[in-house]
């Protein structure tokens, strides 16, 4: 298989790009060259760095090291507007159509034709209509953007890119939220744009789509460039192999599969909720059930629904065989279901408060007599969990914002464990923490399972998922699409379910 070397610099290129977030390298020396008149696909697992690279190349982020070259010249974008001025546009995964404006205003935002300082509405509508025609969107340019369907909004964004006369257009998961017919039409439009001489970058998880339409494919893994090759020389199997790689991190402790025994502690049947189309799973006491799948497949949303943070619209849940219908997280906690959320800073902690205050927060009723908080009881509770989870700290009254990521995660864990849950839901439990803390957290998880807790764990990190779980359920596009026993679970089998369902 030939690997296209980064010869020449094309219309837009990245050289040795490094980007770190909170000490972790999202991109570790990546090169990429984009040629005009080509569709260049960027693929990789969650966290491989595709979005970050696109954001850097389109001005939304700045690299920590390395350079970006436009037509061979090193440049420094001044934000997205700087990139836009050089003809680089990005159509985001989360649409950025301005709903309160009209279609025409959206298409020409920032470059509205004007007379004496006032927007010339007629010219605006006329010019916008031109671009709308090019992308095949047949609506009155004066329509408010909020009235359009998602597919139409996406076309507006593309029209905007055309209005900017973009030479390079990034598409981040363009078809993931489109119905089939609109997807086909969009792909056709990408071909037209390519034929008109623009450089198109396509980020997508749909490997079949990628192989159908791209000219060149680049695979990223763990922030590194793995391979760049013409699409004709690749197939799905090989792509998956490149994306996963052969390296296994030996961080996650191996263990004997938990003896499956007893009735399930939690059963979820055909649950539909915001972000979840139809999910079913069951987990027993002492078992660790992993949930795999791509970003956007509905894993966190499923946990949110089980925890009562969102309302299910269909399906049912049983806890120890009895109907379980939490309408608020307080209901879930009262029934013994706890959640460690995905983002500890936004969802798991009160950053302005002390560590002790955080740990006590979900257990106030158990340390209080009536409305009165018993400080001694609270202190004992906090000290117990600090010791139990080995949280390293100057003292319980230390502000939680001063702790390291790993210790912060333990604080969240302590808060949830203090409520004595029977079912523990974990969403990316080791994200953003150092290796040593990761190992500790997994030791704790294993201990809790051995002590009889039923654990459901969402993880985007395959080795973690495979090593820590007794069984794995995979989600795709809001549905649970398959279950794998520990023996059956390999990277390939999980990824296949995640991508193809």
């Amino acid at each position: 298989m030939t690997t296209l070397a980064a010869t020449g610099t094309g219309v837009l290129a990245a050289r040795g790009i490094v980007k770190r977030f909170a000490g972790v390298a999202a991109l570790d020396g990546v090169d990429l060259t984009l040629e005009p008149g080509r569709i260049h696909a960027l693929v990789g697992e969650n966290g491989a760095g595709k979005s970050t690279l696109s954001k850097i190349l389109s001005g939304f982020e700045t690299a920590d090291a390395g350079e970006v070259l436009v037509e061979g010249e090193p440049v420094r974008f001044n934000g997205p507007s700087g990139a836009a001025a050089r003809g680089i546009a990005i159509v985001h995964q989360e649409l950025s159509v301005i709903r309160s404006l009209s279609v025409a205003e959206n298409v020409l935002v920032g470059s509205e034709p004007s007379r004496f300082g006032f927007v010339d509405r007629r010219r605006l509508a006329r010019e916008a209509a031109g671009y709308l025609e090019k992308v095949g969107l047949d609506v009155d340019p004066r329509t408010p953007a909020s009235r359009l369907s998602v597919a139409q909004q996406q076309l507006v964004e593309i029209a905007r890119a055309l209005a900017m006369d973009a030479k390079v257009i990034f598409f981040d998961e363009p078809t993931s939220s489109l119905p089939h017919r609109d997807s086909r039409r969009l792909l056709g439009l990408l071909r037209e744009l390519r034929d008109a001489g623009r450089a198109i970058v396509l980020i997508s998880h749909d490997l079949a789509e990628v192989l159908e339409i791209a000219d060149t494919v680049t695979v990223l893994r763990d922030g590194r460039h793995i391979v760049t090759a013409p699409a004709g020389e690749l197939d799905e199997e090989r792509l998956i192999q490149h994306m996963i790689g052969r390296d296994l991190e030996v961080v996650y402790s191996d263990h004997a599969a938990a003896a499956a025994s007893g009735p399930p502690a939690l059963v979820v049947e055909d649950l539909a909720a915001p972000g979840v189309r139809a999910a079913s799973l069951s987990v027993r006491a002492g078992e660790v059930l992993g949930i795999g799948g791509l970003v956007g497949s509905g894993r966190s949303e499923l946990l949110a629904a089980i925890f009562g943070h969102t309302r299910p619209v269909a399906g049912r849940m049983l806890l120890d065989g009895r109907p379980y219908r939490p309408r608020h997280p307080a209901d879930a906690l009262a029934r013994g279901v706890g959640l460690v959320p995905e983002s500890r800073k936004d969802q798991g902690l009160q950053l302005g408060l002390s560590m002790a205050a955080n740990i006590e927060l979900s257990s106030l009723s158990s340390i209080a007599t009536g409305p009165w908080v018993r400080r001694a009881r609270g202190r004992r509770l906090v000290e117990r969990y600090i010791a139990d989870l080995r949280i390293k700290t100057a003292g319980p009254s230390a502000p939680v914002s001063t702790l390291s990521g790993g210790n912060q995660q333990k604080v969240v864990l302590a808060k949830v464990l203090a409520t004595r849950p029977r079912v523990l839901l974990l969403d990316e439990p080791t994200r953003g923490i150092d290796v040593g803390a990761k190992a500790e957290v997994h030791r704790i998880i294993r201990r809790l399972a051995d002590e009889g807790m039923a654990i459901v764990m969402v993880s985007s990190v395959l080795p973690e998922l495979l090593n820590a779980s007794d069984r794995i359920v995979v989600m795709r596009a809001g549905r649970t699409v398959g279950e794998l026993s520990r023996a059956e679970a390999t990277e390939e089998s999980v990824m296949r379910l995640a991508f193809q369902g």
Binding site: F307, A357, W372
Partner: protein, 340 residues
Amino acid sequence: MPTAATSSAAGPPVRRAPLTWLKGRDLRALAQVGPVVALLLLAAFFSVQAPNFLSANNLTNILQQVSITAVAAVGATMVILVAGIDLSVGSVVALTGSVAALYLQHATLGMFGSAVVAVLVALVVATLCGLLNGLLVTVAKVPAFIATLATLTGLRGLALLITDSFPISIRNTDYAVIGLGKVGPVPVPVFIMAIMFAVGYVILHRLKIGRRIYAVGDNEQSARLSGIRVDRVLLFVFVFAGFCAGVAALILSSRLSSGQPAGSVGFELNVIAAVVVGGTSLFGGRGRLSGTFLGALLIGTLGNGLTLMNVPTYWQQIITGVVVVAAVVLDRVSRGERRT
């Protein structure tokens, strides 16, 4: 140093605070003791410049004058701690005072009995006003700013309606004790103020609801995921703020021997200024009642001292405004980087 927004993978954009050349740690310390130091400096200054400032009479006057704002500020502190705001305080005070005065005009239970009932009626009315605010925010999901702006207007209209816009005089001598009485050398309003702050302290630092208030103010989503019923917390703070406004109204109407339906206009701004100067953040989650007390005292002392110094009223307003702004800036700067 550019004041640009930088973003991180996991979190929302983080903004650099102004004046970052000042050390964050020193400023945090400064912000904590800031109000106290400022007050002491101010008192020292006035004791030299203003005749009679340090007289027992004047100091008692200051505490008395400050008590009305301070009592209402206890409730306002809690509302601001959950990142809410209550703009209707002035109207609640006007309405409550007017209702109490109207009741006393027609009361038949004798001096003491009528006074007691008037107090109860006033507190009930004020608490109901707070409940109204709370329900608008939690059930109707109206943002607090707008909800309390609406009640500010509506309740004022109600006060003017039931009184024909006239002040209603109060001739009940037992009722007059609330605002004008003394226990030994200590004026009754000062006692009431002390009791209200004690109650507030207990709520915030000894009861479950207090922990929940701080949590909700710090991060509402996180609080919900910790099992806190955010709506109940919000309802509580607004109801309690209404109650505090009622107590303030009792002191005021007793002091003025009248219900003033057109009075206390702009009172809410004095109350909020006291809370903010005392170090409570308008973004929620941070602040102490002791700070509120100091804030009220600071603003009250400033006004009193400047008057004793014969400073023209215009200048007083300007100076007070500058002090409030300085307090807020100091608070922001001392936080260093903070989530926006």
